[in-house]
Symmetry: C2
Subunit: 494 residues, 2 copies
């Protein structure tokens, strides 16, 4: 693919290269509640991008002379990547819900809410991407932009169009982003615009199969890119189409993504369209679409019974705080769902959400959880509703991995997992201002003026926990210095 | 001052230079509801930084040959600053509430709420700034950082310490930021920590006078920096101190800044401390501190009567959405206050708020207004509660100017106003990727990888209104290319 050719370092289709050792500080979620800091640690990654060892008290000599022989590696032949003091490795972010096709509309939503937003802003743009040149520009920008923000895995909605959806899969593969790519199924003639819908349930299924076939042809093992069955949401689909997609899931085992209980008008609409189902989530259950491989976006207005059903089926939730605030959908109750044993990850939900950044989604999840708390009476539930920094960063990584069924493969630095990671650097506010301007990282003067160091100012007296909180709240893509997927360097700031 | 010497372009204490003409697109708030776009316009700024003409259909030749002679300027001697297509001038942002002394703590707040946050995080840091070297680092970083985000005017809280407060005033003057600098008065022995408070009401007043004297000595006309009377908030002040500060306001005419009705526990505390006052706002009124020159931060929990009192006194409100969400304070009702004729601006409220950016404050004000709407029953009030892009940007500029009594001087591009402005540039996603990489502004490839173009991707089909919405939602300091205060260039990205 031509997309990758702009930079030899981004030759993601090429081999990941030989064995490597990354040495420095690694930060990841040990549990949902607590990050773990691994200082002076070596993470040994083989040529296929798999982590084969995680060693404490590691430096280059020990790595080459002691650990490599133990792994059966030639220590002289191993590339050692040691990072500067203060930088740290963090798992790549996982975006569990993002409409790549809506990327050009980020920030553009006026005062709309879900149903008018779809008709006013969204369907016209999505429809226009049947123009493949336009689709190429949009999807390339979206994939590059999200990689630059450290997103190593995305669950994408494309459009109804088969060729454009396949192009998105090709672009993810070329640029090296792990992705689920879904062709959007929407065949309900009364609910979808005439200019933008599948012609029939049969057409919806056939087009979905075409996209699955394409991905199977370009990435046979779904090693990087996987198809995902994508009924847009219950109101846009006929019962026939949803039954057919449920059968397709049983046939292929492929994951499913859709939306649930985002907005009260939408919930009422679903009730009127599917009067025989007990709830919005039950509509999917009644069509064989509520499974452990199902990702449900939003879940703002789940009832108790609905949450119990989601939990019983093992379906997952993608929490999209930016979108839920922007479209006045509501404030999703993360803690409440966690306490019902529901797995949750984060979604940017562009362009209902404005930001390409999962770091911003984590930041907004923290703030929105406090709006949930504001609505509760004084007491332990109110206090519990608030998410911590560690919990928000869990949602952004391991939480998302669980939602997408990747918990064995990505989201942390553990033996057997693949190396999907980002290198994070923060700017030091140095003592000497003149000195500060000389620093590669910036110091203050140069940092702000040259524009590379970002907005996180570290004064030197912060604990690691405080530095990470500063990154969560003021970090951006400038702090993400390098990004790897399966051990391949797929983004680097220069 | 040494702070400015790092860059000759930042010689803010020097003369602003000769007459200048800025030519391009200017965007500002015509009304609270609507931005105005002035294309192909020339803004003529004299050597003192005052706008003397705003001319449509302006280009360099016409500026020099036609307009300059009319102004009595030598057209050959005028510097013409024309900007590239797609860039635009916007008024500098106005931060109506920011604790410069808390800057190192941005993002660090845990699960705390106001009163425990003060004791756990805030008082220890503020107290430590009596070390002037530490204060210099913190204040220099804060002023530079906020200038880089386009903030041309800040209403600062410093600390209790006189020398450190005076240093902040010096730094603002040296770096060229328009500022109100307040020494924090807090003398209530039962409410303030022993290690960080004024010894008595008399000491509080005397220290405040020392800071006023200092600013009068370094900027006699308060042309750039002004003192501001700063009782921290009612719980931290004795009645005697507040009466003395009220008298000081009547004597000097200086503005006042404090906090009101931020958090429910705080409101209850004020009620218990001042049982004879009818409300929190009434406490200030009863001490002569509720005036047209008073800036009240937060106002999340104002009662109807309190809002009526604030309106009747002409006092102003600083809305601080980031802080109010982070500290679980509540969601302030901007529309509700506007409908009571109360003037409102935006505050970053660092470090209750995490971000140095008023653009982010405007973005969060938009989102928080939707959380206000979520809490209202269906109907016109719910719909009205949502702020538009234009309204959020009004709050960030003209709204803030009114709050600080600067509405005749800054906040728009009008004859007689001073040129406090920022030049905004967005990144084009160019058709040809190779071409894109060559572009100075970035295009996609170079933009993302070089890190200078920021996160706003413009595809070329957007209206101006949509481009401005994109800037509001994904813009950051990378889009603020240059910043001027009183016609002086005080920040430039390179």
């Amino acid at each position: 693919m031509g997309e990758a050719s702009h930079d030899s370092k981004l030759d993601a289709m090429g081999p990941a290269g030989g064995n490597k050792v990354y040495i420095g500080t690694f930060v990841h979620s040990r549990t949902r509640e607590a990050l773990e800091l691994l200082h002076d640690t070596g993470v040994f990654v083989d040529g296929r991008g798999t982590i084969v060892a995680v060693e404490p008290d590691c430096h280059a000599a020990r790595a080459r002379e002691v650990i490599c022989p133990r792994l059966g590696w030639d220590g002289a032949d191993v590339e050692v990547i040691a990072v500067r003091q203060g930088q740290f490795f963090f798992p790549g972010f996982i975006d569990t819900h993002v409409h790549a096709s809506q990327y050009p509309n980020v920030g553009i939503f006026g005062k709309s809410t879900l149903l008018d937003w779809l008709n006013t802003y969204t369907f016209p743009l999505e429809s226009s991407l049947s123009n493949l040149e336009r689709a190429r520009r949009v999807y390339t920008a979206c994939v590059r932009r999200t990689l630059a923000h450290g997103t190593t895995t995305s669950a994408y909605y494309a459009t109804v169009d088969v060729a454009a959806t396949n192009l998105l899969a090709d672009i993810c593969l070329a640029l090296g982003q792990r992705a689920f790519v879904g062709r959007v199924c929407m065949d309900h003639a009364d609910m979808c615009p005439e200019y933008y819908r599948d012609e029939s349930p049969e057409a919806s299924l056939a087009a979905t199969r075409q996209c699955i076939d394409h991905v199977r042809a370009v990435d046979p093992d779904y090693a990087l890119v996987s198809p995902i069955i994508t009924p847009r949401f219950a109101p846009s689909c006929t019962s026939e189409a949803m039954h057919a997609l449920g059968a397709l899931h049983r046939e292929t085992g492929l994951p499913i993504q859709t939306h649930v209980s985002e907005n009260l008008s939408e919930v009422a609409l679903v009730k009127s369209l599917f009067p025989d189902s007990a709830s919005y989530a039950a509509v999917y259950d009644d069509h064989g679409l509520l499974t452990p491989r199902t990702v449900l976006a939003h879940a703002v207005h789940l009832t108790d019974d609905e949450a119990d059903l989601v939990a019983a089926r093992g379906a997952k939730i993608s929490h999209c705080p930016a979108s839920n605030s922007a479209l006045t959908s509501g404030a999703a109750r993360v803690r409440w769902m966690w306490e019902r044993s529901i797995d949750i990850g984060l979604g940017t939900d562009m362009s209902g959400g404005h930001s390409p950044s999962i770091l911003e989604a984590a930041r907004l999840a923290t703030l929105v959880s406090r709006h949930v708390a504001m609505g509760l009476p004084e007491g332990s539930e109110k206090e519990r509703a608030k998410l911590t920094t560690d919990e928000a960063l869990f949602l952004a990584t391991r939480g998302g991995a669980r939602v997408l069924g990747l918990e064995e493969r990505v989201g942390a630095f553990e033996v057997g997992m693949q190396f999907d990671a980002q290198l994070v650097g923060l700017a030091d506010v140095l003592e000497g201002e003149e000195d500060g301007r000389e620093g590669e990282e910036g110091g203050w003067g140069a940092g702000a003026l040259a524009g590379d160091a970002g907005n996180v100012d570290v004064f030197g007296w912060e604990t690691w926990e405080e530095k990470i909180a500063k990154w969560l709240f003021n970090g951006d893509d400038r702090n993400t210095k390098k990004v790897w997927v399966k051990g391949r360097l797929v983004h680097e700031r220069r």
